[in-house]
Each structure stands twice: as structure tokens, then as C-alpha cells.
Amino acid sequence: MQTILSIGVDAFAYGMVLFVISIGLSVTMGLMKFANLAHGAFAMIGGYVASYATQALGWHFGFALLAAVAACMVLAVPLERFLYRRFYGASELRQVLMTIGLTFMIIGIANWLMGPTLKTIALPPALQGPVDIGFRSVPAHKIFAAVVGLLVAIGLWLLIERTFFGVKLRAAVDDAPMAEALGIRTKIVYAISFSIAIGLAALGGVVGAQLLPIEPQYALHHMVTFLVVVSVGGAGSIGGALAACLILGTVKTTGSYLMPEFGNFFFYLAVIAIVAVFPNGLMGRAK
């Protein structure tokens, strides 16, 4: 019993970290219909910024986190303007090619600027210690990640489903020329959404850095995981992504505990089973 509870806690924490990192991708892929494989690269940039800010400049974690998100959002503006914008509505394969190319470049540059070694982000004392939750203790940074994840989920859901901006965004994605013809400034809507998605990537990169350490290959290493989470949840669905992260987190954690030697088997079998039953993902919008 103790063990089951314990696994449950680990699964929840792991799932929430996954969620924070991949939700931005769910937004780009589901809402903006952009297969942005460079998502991990932006998460990595966020991680580097935060690492540099805490280690070299000695900033407080909170400021470093904000700086990382802000830096990535600012970086997103020219990238969107000069690169991504040309690929809205292009075939998925072209988007994949472009973003893989971009990922390669970012990896190369990271390797050159920051070196091939691991980087860590210094946590404030409050997030360092364990927190006692009754029957066991959990590292505070995991609780922090979970809380951030929930807040992001709620905030995004409100933004997309309940605001005028959300309607404009979804309209622009569905049929950009028509949205323009209705007076929606699609370019601005897109730029803002893209920037938000990249900001979320950076947030995920920093918050999740304790599990997914920052190094140049980060951008490629975790690409598959992000893709899997997004599609199992249903691209563009926040609830779906959350559910997918928790389910897959549980499968992986339980597998790691019970039969680690088959860990990935169960993980991918679960993916196949879920997608076979829900071809649009757990809560995907039907096409």
C-alpha cells in the first residue's frame, strides 16, 4: 500500500513535469497547426539562460525563471517574423524539416557557446529540501513543478476557450484568409500565440531541469517524448495533455518500479493502445 501510494506520488510529479514542458508544443501543434520540432530547443535555451543567470550571475531562481521565459519570448519574435511565419499552412513535412534544421543549428550554437558539459540551475533553499507529505517526503522542486503545471493548465484553458483572443486564434488557424477577411489581424494573433508557446517551452525547460538536465543534445533527446505526450493527449487539448502526462507518467513510473527492464515496452505499448482506441488523442478535436 505504502509502495503504491509512493509510486502514485512519483507518477504524479513526473507527469506534471512532462506536462509543463510539452504543453507549449501542444498549443503550437494543435492550435497553430505547426509541427514545431524545435520546441525542445527552446526549452533548452530557457534552461541555459536560467543556468547562466543563477550560476554565473548569481541571480535568484525566481528572477532567472522570469528572465528565461522573457528571453525566449523575445527571441521568438524575430524568429516568428522571419522564419516561422513563412511556414504557416505549409505541409507538415516542410515544417518538420525547417524546425529540425533550426534544432540542429541551436544545438550547434549551444555546443559552441556553452560547451558540451551538463548545466544545472541553482534552486533557492525553499525548493531544495524535501517536503513531508505524511507517509513520505517529496522533493520540493517537484511540488513546485506540479503547481506550476496546474496553474499553466488553468490559465491556458481560460485563454483559449474563454477569451476573444482564443476565438481569434482558432479562427485564424482554421482558415487564415477568411479570418483576415473578417478583420482579424492574424499576423499579430499568430505572433503572440507563438511567443506564448515558446515562453511555455522555456518555463518547462527551467522547471523540468531537475529531471531533464540541460545539455546541448537536450533538444533532440526528448523530442520523441514531447511528440508522444502531445499526440496521446490530442494536440491542442489542454485537458488531454494533462491526462496523457498523468497516464503515461503512471505507466512509466510503475513499469520502472515493477519491471524496469521492460520499462519502454510498456510505455510504447500503452501509447499504441491509447492511440488505437482514440485516434485523435484522448481529448483531441475531431477533424
Binding site: V167, P177, E180
Partner: protein, 236 residues
């Protein structure tokens, strides 16, 4: 809101390298009701799309009252007073009916969408349905309602009756006539059913291979069966 006049001169436009429209001159006075006719593939849709800013322009100018449109992007043109109901309907399939209507409001308050429901009660019944689930006729209603909600000063309707039941067609043409008569909108209409076009329009423009082949009053055209046969009849 008052109706706006449209002046096109020397417009040449098309898709990427191909030119579909050649040297179009056209002017529609404020409050006018103009029908654009022509056989399939003659460039009617392309003309509207060019005014809306969705094609590649090779030359010429388009003015709405005194605003030069050619320098503006689609959204800015819409904000300058252009409304476009495209032939393919362009419903936002993954948005609900209500959200589709919201998207057309420009900066009007949310409550304005009730106007659309008054015009098409059928839409009110389906307000929570996804756009993609609607029947053909319902989609046609939705696209028209959505554009009208933005209170355009120049409304371009590309075959707005397609797929609508005769009763609805009657009601809709009635509504268009009223909008034009009230002086709030200039209307440009593409319609395949000559009778509907003749009944509605005061001026008629006929396109033939991307050029204006005939232009005149509706009455003059109705009297000129030879032209009707030549430009609109079965051409072989």
C-alpha cells in the same frame, strides 16, 4: 455606418505567376447593387478575392471611397469596411456556430450576434454545434451572417444562395435589398441564377476570360437577349 463606393482601375491579378484578371475597370457607387455575372471559370471569384486581398496583384488600383486598398493586408481592408462572403463558405470548422459569429464581430460587443440569430433562426438552434457539422445550407447562412455582423460598407457576396432552400433565398435576397436600400451597404453579388440577379441588381457586369465584357443596367441586359446568349449562354 454608411455605404462606400468602390473604384477599380486597371486591375490585373491572378495566382502566383498566372494572370487571371486583365485590366479590370469598375466603379460601383455608394449604395449601389451590382451583380457580377459570367460563366464558370471566367474570374468572378478571383475578382472578389483580389478586392479582399487574397490574390497576387500584378497592377492596378482598388479604392474604397478615398482609401487606397492595394497597400493594405486583408485584415486592414476588412477594417476599412470590406465584407466578403466567399464561394467556398470558409466556415471555421472547429469553432462552434457561436464562435464563428463572434469571429466576425470586428470590435462590436458580443451581444450583437443576436442580430444573426434573428436573420437566421436556424442558426440559433445550432449555436453550440461545430461549424464542420452543419449542413450545406446552414453553413451558407453562417458565412453570410458572420460577415454581415461586421457591418461592412461594401459587401461582396459570391453565390450566397448556393444550397439554400427557395424560401430562405427569398428571405435573404429581401434582406440584401433592404441593406442596400437603407444606405448602409454597397453590395456586389455573384449569382448564377439570372432571375435572382436581375431582380436584385441595378447594374450588371459580365466577365469573360478575366476581362469586363459587358457593363450596363439590369434592364438593358434583360432586353438584350443576344448578349445574354453570347456571354452567359451555353458557349459552344
Amino acid at each position: 455606418m454608411t455605404a462606400a463606393s468602390l473604384t477599380i482601375s486597371g486591375l490585373t491579378a491572378g495566382y502566383s505567376q498566372t494572370r487571371i484578371l486583365e485590366d479590370i475597370d469598375l466603379s460601383v457607387p455608394a449604395g449601389g447593387r451590382t451583380a457580377v455575372l459570367g460563366r464558370n471559370g471566367m474570374g468572378k471569384t478571383t475578382l472578389f478575392a483580389s478586392i479582399a486581398g487574397q490574390t497576387r496583384r500584378h497592377g492596378g488600383t482598388i479604392r474604397l471611397d478615398n482609401t487606397e486598398l492595394t497597400a493594405l493586408d486583408g485584415a486592414a481592408r476588412a477594417r476599412a469596411g470590406l465584407g466578403y462572403v466567399p464561394q467556398n463558405r470558409a466556415i471555421f470548422r472547429s469553432l462552434t456556430v457561436e464562435e464563428n459569429l463572434l469571429s466576425g464581430l470586428k470590435d462590436r460587443p458580443r451581444s450583437a450576434i443576436e442580430e444573426a440569430y434573428t436573420l437566421f433562426p436556424r442558426l440559433a438552434e445550432r449555436r453550440q454545434n461545430m461549424g464542420g457539422q452543419l449542413s450545406g445550407g446552414e453553413q451558407q447562412m453562417l458565412t453570410t451572417a458572420r460577415t454581415i455582423l461586421g457591418q461592412p460598407r461594401l459587401l461582396m457576396l459570391d453565390e450566397p444562395l448556393e444550397g439554400l432552400a427557395p424560401v430562405i433565398c427569398d428571405a435573404l435576397m429581401e434582406a440584401f435589398t433592404q441593406l442596400a436600400a437603407s444606405g448602409t451597404m454597397t453590395i456586389l453579388l455573384v449569382e448564377q441564377r439570372l432571375k435572382a440577379a436581375f431582380d436584385f441588381a441595378d447594374t450588371i457586369v459580365i466577365l469573360e476570360r478575366g476581362r469586363v465584357a459587358w457593363q450596363g443596367t439590369s434592364a438593358a441586359l434583360q432586353a438584350d437577349t443576344a448578349t445574354i446568349d453570347r456571354l452567359l449562354g451555353v458557349g459552344h
